[in-house]
């Protein structure tokens, strides 16, 4: 599917500009000259730790999905680095969520912001080793940015690029460190946390590329500037990847707290929303129509923004079928390392597929619920947890559809798949390298 990625929502450009957006994405790719012209040079602080206070004041949280407070990660790695003598920083651009396109676009349009952020965090935690972990082979903009920065002597720490395998778990923090260390992109058991013992045994900071871009701006404009948009509890803006009934991916930077109906629409042509990607939550309409893009609001429906993937499911599709497709993908992408996940996810996916078929046994729904309870919290990573959250919300939101399918009916008039899934499931060890 060609990725038509456009940034501005129809009619929303004026509203965005008034809100001080976009912050991260220029209209066209910016080379180093344009970047320096707009932002000035990388604002190194001259000592480790100095940036961390500003990041704390800004309230920046991770934009890779977990929304962990960035200053706490920075402080933890810096502290562990003092004890150990060595730290590593990683810019995580794996973007393993198949429906997400924001990191890819960010790296095309504003690679220097990301690379600034990487250098600044390296300075903040005293790292002499930096990595850029990418979903695909590095694009020309990234390579040019690195070359131009090297020519100018802008980067204090050399950056090594590594390509992630196209696995759903490849962007998970421990999987990143595993891959960078020469192993497969498979999660490892924690403790120890990577911030204590990561790549080569050194405390490692893994940060999403969008997070680093925000950080690069906070370093220039300060925490108060960052807080000028967003909510008090969850300040700033975030990149979202939006799927509306036209089914093309739109990447749009939105202030946290923006009403979801502004981003997704909630007309009669939409039956439900998916928030937070494939480990996210289905939201019923019209019940959730007033929800805003901040976790405090999303929590009321058991949802979280995650990495900003938002989808408006067209009314003419079968939500159950869509959910079953995604569940099948999530099961196939299990690392297969932990008994509960390995055994539970395929069974959950098969049960959901049966519900999405025509007529199912009464036992299937009960089995599905039992298996969901069995896998939660029992893996080394949160793949089973995220999958269960996705599946459970689907069972709730599409419950009427389940009853229809049990009678051999389906309300869909359009059988074309809506949510994007990659072709090619992993079959061998090489698929994880």
């Amino acid at each position: 599917m060609s990725t038509a990625v456009n940034q501005s929502a129809p009619g929303g450009a004026a509203r965005q500009a008034a809100a001080g957006l976009p912050r991260l994405l220029p209209q066209t790719p910016e080379d180093l000259r344009a970047h320096l012209g707009r932002y000035g040079p990388t604002p190194y602080r001259g000592r480790t730790g100095a940036l961390i206070a500003d990041v704390e004041a800004s309230g920046l949280t991770g934009r890779g999905g977990a929304a962990f407070p960035v200053h706490r990660k920075l402080a933890a790695v810096a502290r562990a680095g003092v004890r150990q003598g060595r730290t590593v920083v990683v810019a995580n651009g794996a973007e393993s969520e198949p429906a997400s396109r924001k990191d890819e676009l960010l790296l095309q349009l504003a690679p220097n912001l990301v690379l600034d952020g990487l250098q600044l965090t390296a300075e903040a935690v005293g790292a002499a080793e930096a990595h850029l972990y990418l979903h695909a082979a590095p694009g020309p903009q990234i390579l040019r940015a690195l070359a131009e920065r090297a020519a100018r002597g802008l980067d204090r720490v050399a950056v090594t690029i590594t390509q992630a395998p196209p696995r759903f778990l490849a962007g998970q923090e421990t999987a990143v460190v595993n891959r960078l260390g020469g192993g497969p992109a498979l999660p490892t058991f924690q403790p120890p946390r990577v911030s204590e013992r990561g790549l080569g045994g050194a405390p490692t900071l893994v940060q999403n590329v969008e997070t680093l871009a925000h950080l690069a701006l906070i370093a220039r404009y300060g925490p108060r500037w960052f807080r000028a948009v967003g909510t008090a509890a969850e300040p700033g803006s975030m990149l979202t990847t939006i799927y509306r009934p036209d089914a093309k991916a739109h990447v749009r930077e939105a202030a946290i707290g923006t009403p979801l109906r502004t981003l997704l629409g909630d007309g009669a042509e939409i039956q439900a929303w998916l928030v937070g990607g494939y480990h996210g939550t289905w939201l019923p309409l019209p019940d959730a129509a007033g929800i805003t893009l901040d976790n405090a609001s999303l929590r009321r429906f058991g949802a979280a923004a995650g990495a900003g993937v938002l989808a408006a499911l067209p009314a003419d599709r079968c939500g159950l079928t869509e959910a079953a497709r995604v569940a099948g993908y999530l099961a196939a992408e299990s690392a297969g390392q932990c008994g509960p996940c390995l055994n539970g996810l395929p069974r959950i996916a098969a049960a959901l597929a049966e519900l999405a078929g025509s007529g199912h046994r009464r036992q299937t729904l009960a089995d599905l619920k039992r298996w969901s309870g069995l896998v939660e919290g029992r893996g080394a990573c949160n793949h089973p947890d995220g999958t269960v959250r996705f599946v459970r919300s689907a069972l709730t939101v599409f419950e009427p559809e389940i009853r229809r399918h049990a009678r051999g009916q389906c309300s869909a008039t359009n059988r074309r798949p809506f949510l994007p899934l990659p072709d090619g499931l992993p079959t061998s060890e090489e698929d994880w390298i």
């Binding site: 890779g64 999905g65 977990a66 962990f68 998970q172 923090e173 421990t174 490892t188 058991f189 924690q190 403790p191 946390r193 990577v194 390392q337 932990c338 008994g339 509960p340 996940c341 055994n343 539970g344 069995l374 029992r378 893996g379 080394a380 990573c381 949160n382 995220g386």
Partner: protein, 73 residues
Amino acid sequence: MAETLRVNPIACTGHGVCAELLPELVTLDEWGYPIVDPGPVPPALDRDARRAVAACPALALKLTKSEEPARSA
């Protein structure tokens, strides 16, 4: 100090020895993998817990002292 029992699900291959030695805190799911009580180990069961940890053929069971960090996303 209170300790909790944790299983490393990657190392665990479902031997089930832990569930035999510590049935108060460990049960097996329908696939033979341990479901471990997440609460602190009662002092009366401390010796049995240590025995279960030592007996695990896969070295997958651990007694941890401090509050465990959450798994990252």
